[in-house]
Assembly symmetry: C2
Homo-oligomer: 203 residues x 2
């Protein structure tokens, strides 16, 4: 049945146009102007059409969350590749995390700003697990090398993420031009934080 095929294809196109229009609006006008009605307007369909593609507004946000975490997990994974030591991997991931946050402000704000992922959402976003693993594996590797103390990898994973997230979220709201301490300051804080984290594992 070619007809059914075409219908599926067309439906998929509308779905994609919803996500495209929504993302376009978020990037140009920010999350505060993310609205079902505006999306409907942009794709030149009536509002209920959107509800035949997504259960509700949150379902659209969930979709962006998925994309965001996939992008982040892939970025960290790529940053690790080819590094000489676990410590270097961790440093590289820290910088990649920072870079992801600021080259994808909208994603970061959704993923960690509006409401940090709860336990339920973890199951809906497989890439969150990836994110966890790509970090933890480097920590485990490093702990294995420096066999001084027995570090809890999950504890260190949480510390690592905490430091990075705190750093990012505090710097994200400050407009570039309003930085009291000259440019490059946040990056120095990042390096400072990474440095003390590495030393914390080395013991």
């Amino acid at each position: 049945m070619g007809i059914t095929d075409r219908k599926i294809r067309q439906k998929e196109e509308v779905r994609a146009s919803i996500l495209d229009a929504a993302w376009e609006m978020v990037v140009t006008e920010g999350w505060q102007s993310f609205s079902i009605r505006k999306i409907a307007d942009a794709i030149e369909y009536s509002v209920p059409v959107i509800y035949s593609h997504f259960e509700n507004k949150d379902a659209i946000l969930l979709e962006f969350n998925r994309k965001g975490f996939k992008l982040l997990a892939d970025s960290l994974s790529a940053a690790k590749k080819g590094k000489a030591s676990p410590a270097d991997e961790i440093r590289a991931m820290g910088r990649a995390y920072w870079q992801f946050a600021f080259t994808n402000k909208e994603y970061y704000q959704l993923m960690f700003g509006l409401g940090i992922p709860t336990c339920d959402t973890v199951s809906k976003i497989p890439a969150m697990q990836e994110f966890n693993e790509v970090i933890t594996s480097s920590i485990v590797a490093m702990a294995a090398e420096t066999k001084k103390p027995v570090v809890d990898p999950f504890l260190k994973y949480q510390s690592f993420w905490s430091m990075l997230h705190g750093l990012v979220s505090i710097n994200m709201v400050v407009p570039e031009d309003k930085m009291t301490h000259g440019a490059g300051m946040p990056e120095r804080v990042l390096e400072d934080v990474l440095c003390s984290f590495i030393r914390g594992i080395e013991g």
Copy 2:
């Protein structure tokens, strides 16, 4: 003029009742049900009365922001008092920050969750400066003791706050009963993070 006096007094009472009713609702039902109309309902006045006390919704939030930062600054200040060393002061403040966040979830969510304070809001909230200073002074004191390297106090202040905020915000969304790693885990992460921060200054 006793009449004008009484009017001012009564107006002040209504203003207080607005804040009381609003806070009551936030504590029992969360920020998502914070609404001008519901407040009006609770204080048994019509909606426009609220607008004769506060310019808009954000002005009410600003008021809570002020209270929250005052409370936090005072908590940190009290935690410092009587500690033997700057390092102890920092540890005490870290724990006090953590405790503030979880015994005042609603305040913390407003202050750092919904939208972290921007540069403009700093000028509207004097207690934010207090918060900055009470932390920085301990860092400076500690750097003076261990005269090894010349640490940038503002950099260390940002690191400190970043770590704490990240830690708190990641743990705040996880429901108590859903902690994968037994109770007391977040506190261990806190101590871990504090420890590596202190060492980062000691050099």
